[in-house]
Symmetry: C2
Subunit: 353 residues, 2 copies
């Protein structure tokens, strides 16, 4: 059998599913997490998909994740809740929170649900997109799972890449889906560079002398840079306060570096805001307005040398269609690593079909 | 009488109040707007305070602002509302929206209020700060009042500086208050540079050839740059969709350039999200956590050459105290301009006491 370079969604999802089930996740949970992880790869979020499986399973085996969590609401009002994830897989905790927010928003018009005792849950846009099919929009905030960002002007890494994601429904156009770290590069992208043996461009990280750091294998000697200098620092801080501190999740010095520590409970916090378009008027009118705006932006006159103007989420949208048809590209070295682990976990290896 | 270089809050506020009243604003409205405008200068937001008075009054006199608006709720659920500002002064419309959001959040835990048919309302942080005294936090989004930002890679200015602001309560520390344009510089700062006869630093604006534009008097030949390149473009777009499109306010090609056009109704949209800390647990605990985080960040080891690490809003907080005591600095050229206009409006000039 030759090493596959592209994998079908089903092959990838089922491999993740059986791997997680082999580690004690209940069947329904293994299915749900595997669907979300494979969806991450399907949309090109390759720093947050199957590449994280070895790390998740290392943590599960070390006792750092609860495979049978009692996910429950600990604070609630009509337009908000705090969900305690009982240290379960983040994908399960956040899905639970988003479902609850959608349900509450359908009554209250708007709802905010925070998580605590959650874990890394993959790319933010998985969750901001969930309200779309309900004619709702989503705004998602998360505390990153390792601090690589100091305050602006400082060197103590007290902040993470704390992402913001928004999913806004359109009509005939793809939805507008923003998913951005508040740093120039997400740490997942640094890990992908290391895995590929590539250097980072200047501007992603600096070292303790304030000089550009280019070698992703030396990432632990430096820190990420925020977008817009002090502005990105401020955004990362606010996102962390909203996603972490507000709901009782870890923030600042309490954030556990889950790349280095596979045992300590991370107490990850996330937050989702869901807005029901129907509360604001006719959703079809809103979506028509988004379509018109998207088309205006896309057909803008271009700067010299620019081939195409993209909307946020449009490249992921294209990848979803393309990869669904022709397969999801996965680095051969990652497939080899996963298949070596599969043998260890006692599950069937990845195959291309 | 020598030209004053610093003014007391009261002198500034009363000058604005009598100027607005002279243009037909009801006494209570002139008072409220003047307090918020003077507060902008008090906290150092000098691009959004009294410097805007001539423009506001030009628009009022041209019939572009309704001095007797019927501000009303047009859509409502328990955790949301849309406020139609009837083309009144933005300060009045947004204050109304924030008051309503605070009231709703005290029940529902979280509330979102959008405005439409509003106008320029000054610095975003005026509004994100309002919930603080209620043990609530605020997130504010606005559509800027002139498009100076093209989509990333484009030249058609379809987006504005669309700011984000957050006000997060602390305990003994000053609140964490972020107020940032999604562009490297807000257009108000460009106007201040022009007024002061200073050049802009590279990175604020580019021209239609993609080259740095440094002369603020040539600002109309170029466009602002977003923070973090495509990320800031995405943020500006999302903020515009949330603050404008969602509530029925202008966005994209419908945004009126209120620097150039003093008559056309702007249909400005803003949005405030208010979160009641008490719904999430003990507000005192939250505020203690914020204090601890603020102190950790402030006492971080510093990069070579850095004197002090600032928290978002800390410099404005210091200015509030300093200017309240020793006066608000106002450029002599601006005082001269205002006093020439005061004669035209038939009101007493600015004095230093």
């Amino acid at each position: 059998m030759s090493t596959p370079h592209t994998l079908s969604f089903d092959a990838l999802q089922q491999f993740i599913e059986r791997s997680l089930a082999s580690q004690g996740l209940p069947a329904a949970d293994a299915l749900k997490v595997s669907q979300l992880m494979a969806e991450a790869d399907l949309q090109g979020s390759d720093g947050h998909g199957v590449i994280r499986l070895p790390q998740y399973i290392k943590r599960i085996r070390a006792g750092g994740i609860n495979t049978n969590p009692h996910i429950r609401v600990v604070h609630e009002r009509s337009a908000m809740a705090v969900v305690d994830g009982d240290n379960g897989m983040g994908h399960l905790v956040v899905s639970h929170a988003v479902d609850l927010a959608i349900q509450k928003a359908s009554e209250a018009g708007v709802a905010w649900v925070s998580t605590r005792m959650s874990n890394h849950a993959g790319p933010a846009s998985l969750y901001s997109r969930m309200p779309l099919q309900h004619n709702m929009l989503g705004l998602y905030f998360a505390v990153g799972n390792a601090n690589h960002l100091p305050p602006w002007g400082g060197m103590d890494m007290l902040l993470s890449t704390n992402p913001i994601s928004a999913g806004i429904p359109a009509g005939d156009e793809p939805p507008v889906v923003l998913d951005m770290a508040t740093t120039v590069a997400a740490y997942g992208k640094v890990k992908v560079k290391a895995k590929r043996g590539e250097m980072m461009p200047p501007g992603w990280m600096i070292d303790r002398q304030g000089q550009p750091l280019l070698d992703p294998n030396k990432a632990s000697d430096g820190f990420l840079l925020p977008i817009g200098e002090h502005k990105g620092y401020g955004l990362a801080l606010i996102v962390g306060l909203l996603a972490g501190t507000l709901g009782g999740g870890a923030m600042g010095r309490d954030v556990v570096d889950f790349n280095a520590d596979h045992v300590t409970v991370t107490n990850t916090g996330q937050a989702i805001l869901v807005i029901d378009l129907a509360a604001f008027g006719d959703p079809a009118h809103f979506k028509g307005q988004v379509d018109a705006l998207v088309r205006d932006l896309r057909s803008s006159e271009k700067l010299p040398g620019v081939e195409r103007i993209w909307l946020p989420g449009e490249q992921s949208h294209e990848k979803r269609s393309r990869y669904a048809q022709s397969g999801i590209p996965v680095a051969p070295s990652l497939v080899q690593e996963l298949n070596a682990l599969a043998a260890e976990w006692g599950v069937a290896p990845l195959t291309s079909h």
